[in-house]
Amino acid sequence: MGAAGTLRIRVGVAAPIAARITPATPITEARALIEADPVSLEIMWSRLVTIVEEMWQAICRTGFSLIVSEAQDLACDILDAAGESLAQSPRAMPVFNLTLPRAVKAMLQKYPAETLRPGDVLITNDPWLCAGHLYDIAIVTPVFLDGQLVALMGTVGHVGDIGGIKDGLKATEIFDEELQIPPAKLYRAGEPNDTLFDMIAENVRKSEEVLGDLHSFIAANAQGGERLLGFMRDYGMQDLRALAAVVQGRAERAMRDAIRALPDGVYHSTVSNAALGRRLDYPLKLTVAGDEIELDFAGAPEQLPLGGLNCTYSYTIAHGSYPLKCILSQQVRGNAGCYRPITVKAPEHSVLNCTRPAALALRTRTGWHLAPNIFRALSDAAPDRVQAHTGLPVSVKVHGLDAKGRLYADHFFMGGGQGASAAHDGKSALLWPTSAANTSIELFETRSPVLVVEKSLIADSGGAGQHRGGLGTRTRMRKLHDDGPPTQASVAAEGVGVDSPGLFGGLQGGAARGAVLDRDGNLARDCGAGELVTLTDTSRMIELRLCGGSGFGDPASRSAALGERDL
């Protein structure tokens, strides 16, 4: 001990761990070895999640675009050598974690494991294989130990731009939405694929930013790969198949146990949304049978010829499965096992299972309505777990040239009011069923010459109920300078003209609106279901009002104390 009372510790060097599990260890023997020591298993499982979490942090620190580094529109994953998820970044974005395995399996089909080399990096943004639109790019890096593929580190992130039409609601085919990257090698044994990099750079706005984001994904995967090999060394594990089988098996069991606790039955529900002003209905048949759940979206509308509102099957599966994880096994760290007991069906060529060359850039405006539908269907079977409709998030994208002729293009994410549940009022300004973050106003204003005039909670916009919905938000922004070039902004409030009643007598929250206002806040034009607004000077501003959350239970039964707090 030192003079100042500090403990000085000279740490002894531990002997290296002998290999306990090798590729030659029979899988049942290796599983038994892991299962025999639940304390070590818990530590190892946590450490896997820490590795993905560190990848995620690395991207938030080094990503270039606001949508990646600030709004956190990304997810990281460790996948086993078969392409099944082993550990997922816990904070965002579950839909990416759910769609990534399909992309990885397609990559492994095209580039079989035995042909992959250390230093290879794979890429795709195929919406049918991955996350449902071209902005979401998957970067996958194989990890080798002694020449054997032991795992794949994967990142899916929404880059700031992917080229194509600015008014997504006018897109009729995926070709309008620009750059399609089939499964390909972005690096071959450490050598960059310059042609592919150049192709990407030439086809997107703010290419430096897009490539910077891609680099941060590549670096995060590399870092995760190093950490994973360190992890394997520390535990004398030269092969991950047994550990994967154990953690996936446990996650699967937990989900099956939770499903088995629900009453068997066939449950029906319908929600509707407004696609370009037309009401569309989405019937759902949800079957709980033993320890499995099937979601059947038979009767979904035909795929839409206009507006980029179509979901790929991969995206529909993800948005159908993830809400069930949220309410049935939220205490279990996500991996492939959680989703094995869930089947999702959607008719081919429907808006929930579209076929090429459907446009799909704005598919969130369809897919985000699935979660409240699932909760509504399960409201009788699991009233204490479900949640009423959440006011859906919106991203405004602004485009233009600044006074010096430099191009800007940035996304501004904002959330609505969360739906109420049996236990809680909804939270306000929440982005759900995505798990992105509200974009920082200050950083947004440093990137684009736009002034956010107001961002506020809308009073009384939470749907009434025994528990009330969270508050919706209002955001107003305008050009910063009267400098000549116009600013274009997508003003597409989600939920305009949509019925989203609460559960068990709770009421709908405040309505959504997108509009153009004059300087004093008077309505100049209502943007309806959405349009690309052109602002030429500072005399006009855009406004987005996001829905409040819907209520849960009869408003008359709200406790006096809670009512008082609302006032």
Binding site: M1, A3, A219
Partner: protein
Amino acid sequence: MAAFRRVHSARFTSVYEGVSPEIVSFRVRAAGPAPALTVAQADAPAGGVPLKGRRMAWFGDRFHDTPVYDRYALASEGMIQGPAIIEEREATTILGRRTV
């Protein structure tokens, strides 16, 4: 830039080449006459018995008969060979077998 490149690569594996750097903040480190500071413990131990007792604790392969010390009673410049346990109000320090 070389220093930035080194630190960034160490933390995040590599640097995205070919982009212009942006300096977001400067941190200034200035030198001046240093006041005479002491970090000696305010409430230095008033004696007492450092060795509180012993207990059987698991280290690696088996239980070891392990001494437990009261940190507040430890004398300066003393040396303790692991395995050992040092207890205080906020924390417990475990010294492994090969740790001093």
